[in-house]
Symmetry: C2
Subunit: 341 residues, 2 copies
Amino acid sequence: MTSSSGRSSSRPTLEQVAALAGVSRGTASRVLSGASNVSENAVEAVRRAAAELHYRPNLAARSLVTGRTGLVGLLVNEPAHKLWTDPFFGELARGAHDRLTEDGVALVLSLATEESERDKLIELATTRLDGVLIVRGGGDEKLVHALVDAGVTAVTAGRPADSLLERVGWVDSENEAGARAAVEHLVERGRRRIGLITGPDDMNVVVDRRSGWREALRAAGLDASAELVEPGAFTIESGAQAMATLLERVPDLDAVFAQNDLMALGAIRQLRVAGKAVPGDVAVVGFDDLMAESSSPTLTTMAQDVQGFGAAMASLLLEQLGGAAPRHEVIPVSLVARESS
Amino acid sequence: MTSSSGRSSSRPTLEQVAALAGVSRGTASRVLSGASNVSENAVEAVRRAAAELHYRPNLAARSLVTGRTGLVGLLVNEPAHKLWTDPFFGELARGAHDRLTEDGVALVLSLATEESERDKLIELATTRLDGVLIVRGGGDEKLVHALVDAGVTAVTAGRPADSLLERVGWVDSENEAGARAAVEHLVERGRRRIGLITGPDDMNVVVDRRSGWREALRAAGLDASAELVEPGAFTIESGAQAMATLLERVPDLDAVFAQNDLMALGAIRQLRVAGKAVPGDVAVVGFDDLMAESSSPTLTTMAQDVQGFGAAMASLLLEQLGGAAPRHEVIPVSLVARESS
DNA sequence: CGGAAAGGCGGGAGCGATCCCGAAAACGCG
DNA sequence: CGCGTTTTCGGGATCGCTCCCGCCTTTCCG
């Protein structure tokens, strides 16, 4: 239907575009890759020819010479269930995806929950990916180390172990400050017995948010003993569970800070079961601001731009791929007070 | 550290492997791609050489000549929130991922929620993907049509619109039979007023499960009128919402069949709020069997192998990529009776 | 034992881009 | 107007692999 232009049944090549534009392959390449030293005429002619032929560059050919694949892995080393149930991951992936797409880079889903899958994953990373976005390195950071040792460019979500601080890029939230702000808010509202629902200890987020909680309590002269802390697993269920335990251990609890919204939701649910009013008897604050509308009472939480978090990871990786040294970035969080506190 | 073998600072090429093995590049290629007409000796030598050099093929070079990229898109045309909150997607992705990995194919996350992103997506698909796994084509199947018209090999989750039946591969559950079985089970338990919580009407799953429900009721001589049907959106919230509406409209309801587990969970939650006992007053049956442990009472549901569903999609796609005509496959479902009915 | 068929193997010819060198054209200035 | 500089451009070389053609060995059978 598209009139003219040869009998090209398959995709046109750069050579054909150049021919149609009346220039050489080299010039056509320059135009399409946005080089500066090309004449107006040539640019115009090549653009037109490319459009007419519906030219699409063959990425494999490009890769072959540039050595870059234009592919980045999204490595989520987390049980499948957990991953696809936490909106945090979704938002993060969205942000990263969009940022990468801007630069013509695609996101490859890289799953490796089990130890046995790691070799395949490292092979994938070294063989066809330019770099990797690591969402959760797993308790031990063995996998991340293995990747970095294999020369893979990486950016992690959250501050990594000290040994990796300078070797990968990373993005983190204002965890400590955020947690402090959350607790200060509760203190201002007159709460005195403020519990904490954490996550797995091997994550720096957990450690940082806990120390923010502790510090704020100390500063206010309140109890910050261990009996007020109960670990969860960043899921609704675990939040409910932890809340139950906490209530039993500390009957006079009048507030709880959950390290993410999912657990805060679980806590609220459990409080209702226990016949406690929220925020009447116990105030609840979460973290992330991803579930504002899906709880009643609506959830007070520490808001952060999760898509921005993902985009920042992507930017950092792109930057490193361009030759820059690994950097890190911190995403600000801010209190959003709603009904639950 | 790895002793011997040249000063190859960068990745070894097939040529180098061949040299070390004392054969030609051609032979080395034959060995590594598993061709049959190679002597024992050669196979052995090449294998050893490849291992010693830690040889990894350059996929870009391979793509350039084979015309295949070894990349398949996972197209989820669904608001991010929904996607990352429904365990169904996670299981499906897992299954597809694992099956594809077996064949050395990687999964590229392809998001295109908004109309404006479609062109980019089609470009991605035609330019760097071998095929696409479509998880949800969006209400209108415009995007799928556009892809197929552009010559993209595709497999959809769920039976597509009639106009696409022969043009894409697809995998579907035994929706109608499953729904029928669910309702028959409720009837056997003595239920007489059986409601239905559906999903968006533009999905064939929804239509099929509804007709299964209707048919079973008719066969039992029970009411199957529209007042017993209320649409949801496959989320917990929407399930609760629909349940509330249903209870109000049909006060004497004694059972409800929700078209997925998430909505069943929402329904149970809402029933509790309304002071109804489950299953005492109202029995509940879901679909998918993905949330068995996270409800109380535990959920009776139509179980299906969701990872197998994803794997089947991958297999079909691989098959089509191999030149076969599009086929479809149906995943069996079976009743798992638990406490909620 | 000789000739045909089959099995193994080597290496040239691409695949379609980018890079880069050197030639040609355009420009600037005394 | 001539010559040095800067721009622009052409096209060879190259990336690392697979495909394929044709040669050399073996094997088999009459």
